[in-house]
């Protein structure tokens, strides 16, 4: 009996979850993709790994120059 009750409870939770998911409002993929592209275009210039550094001096991980000023 306990097994049956717990199986029932489990299935009830699963079904309720599916009900919630089915009720989600969705947008077309084309609209979602347009927003992804827009976000990337707006932030592309700040992306060092994409556009590089304005000067290598700005890169904290650049190779240390072999000459040092004493």
């Amino acid at each position: 009996m306990d097994m049956m009750v717990s199986t029932l409870q489990l299935q009830r939770a699963v079904t309720e979850q599916l009900r919630r998911e089915a009720a989600i409002k969705r947008i077309p993929v084309s609209a979602a993709v347009a927003d992804i592209v827009k976000y990337i275009n707006e932030h592309e210039q700040e992306d060092c790994l994409l556009v590089g550094f304005s000067s290598q001096k700005v890169n904290p991980f650049r190779e240390k120059s072999s000459c040092t000023v004493l």
Binding site: T15, V29, V33
Partner: protein
């Protein structure tokens, strides 16, 4: 007793009717998702200009672990990195100089997860000991960090991933027991449990919004779930992967999640379209993806593979643009520094590497 009341309260619910409804809902979900699938991301991306990707160079090699490095995390100061290893140690590095600054031994091997708190003054770590523990970094003067180590929470199986949800006071963990949990750091009290995964939870990521009310998880049930932190309920589920989901990362915009899986494929799921919108895979890539990451703008995505490499992909065109070679064993972790200037990779070859 409570269960009996619940059964009596709705006598129309039988296992059969619930199963029937679940099947009908699944089909409806699939149809609804398919209806809005009017274009693919990469079809749109193909019309965009190809990126001229600057070659990432290997800048630092962090050597000091005695065994597989299983996890790492950048400090919010953009300079330090914490790493955890199969050797049972948690190390803190200065990534600028490649110097090891702190060694914290733990009572267990396989420290599978480590994370910096938002203040940068606290680190959480744990793994095969089923526990998550915290210690201050750097430890107060003349004190041993290991002695300041304090257990916050215990799962019934290994702790595979952890993060601080925009506050030093709470930790979210994922575990081999199939649950995620939100804990109070100070009291060790369980604030919220999250149960819906059908198998081990492998990865967590926090939504980038300031609200910080949702997070995503991935697991060995091949699913990625999006959770509401307040209610403890899953909000969305994506289950198109063919194998374990090892890693999950929110796009910087917060509107989609990227997953990496043992099926050697990365997938992008848009939260508002509620479906998979892109796939990043090649026939020649046959090894699993252990970790995924975005560049600052979300144009590039990075994936660490079991074939000892990490790759960069153009997220919009779906093309691989760069392969990072150097590691001598599987790459377990790929993470961007908080300012987006460098990438840190961790590997079973016992090293971490910084690329910029």
């Amino acid at each position: 007793m409570a269960a009996d009341t619940a059964v009596a309260a709705s006598p129309e619910d039988t296992l059969e009717s619930l199963l029937r409804e679940a099947e009908a809902l699944k089909q409806k979900l699939e149809e609804e998702r398919q209806k809005l699938n009017d274009v693919s991301l990469c079809a749109v991306g193909a019309r965009l200009e190809a990126i001229s990707f600057p070659a990432l160079k290997l800048r630092r090699v962090l050597k000091g672990h005695q065994a597989k490095v299983l996890c790492s995390d950048w400090s919010p100061d953009k300079r330090h990195v914490v790493s955890s290893s199969q050797d049972g140690k948690v190390l803190v590095w200065d990534a600028f100089t490649a110097a090891r600054e702190l060694t914290v031994p733990t009572p267990s091997t396989w420290v599978m997860a480590c994370a910096y708190a938002p203040s940068g003054a606290l680190v959480a770590a744990g793994g095969l000991d089923n526990k998550v523990a915290v210690f201050p970094v750097p430890p107060p003067a003349d004190e041993d960090a290991a002695l300041r180590r304090r257990t916050v929470a215990t799962h019934t199986s290994y702790m595979s991933c952890c993060l601080f949800p925009n506050t030093d006071r709470q930790i979210v963990t994922g575990s081999g027991d199939g649950t995620c949990a939100l804990w109070d750091v100070e009291s060790g009290q369980l604030l919220q449990g999250f149960q819906a995964h059908g198998a081990d939870v492998m990865a967590l990521d926090l939504a980038p919004s300031d609200m910080g009310d949702t997070f995503a998880s991935g697991g060995c049930d091949r699913a990625a779930l999006v959770w509401d932190m307040r209610t403890g309920q899953p909000v969305q589920a994506f289950d198109t992967h063919d194998s374990d989901v090892n890693s999950v990362r929110y796009h910087p915009s917060g509107d989609s999640i990227l997953t990496g899986s043992d099926d050697s494929c990365c997938r992008l799921f848009d939260l508002r379209a509620d479906r998979e919108v892109a796939r990043y895979a090649k026939d020649s890539l046959i090894f699993g993806v252990n970790s995924v990451e975005w560049s600052l703008s979300g144009r590039l995505l990075f994936a660490g593979y079991s074939d000892y490499t990490a790759c960069a992909w153009d997220a919009l065109r779906g093309a691989r643009v760069c392969v990072l070679c150097g590691h001598e064993h599987r790459v377990t972790r790929v993470q961007l520094s908080p300012d987006g200037t460098a990438l840190c990779t961790a590997s079973w070859d016992a090293t971490l590497r910084i690329w910029a």
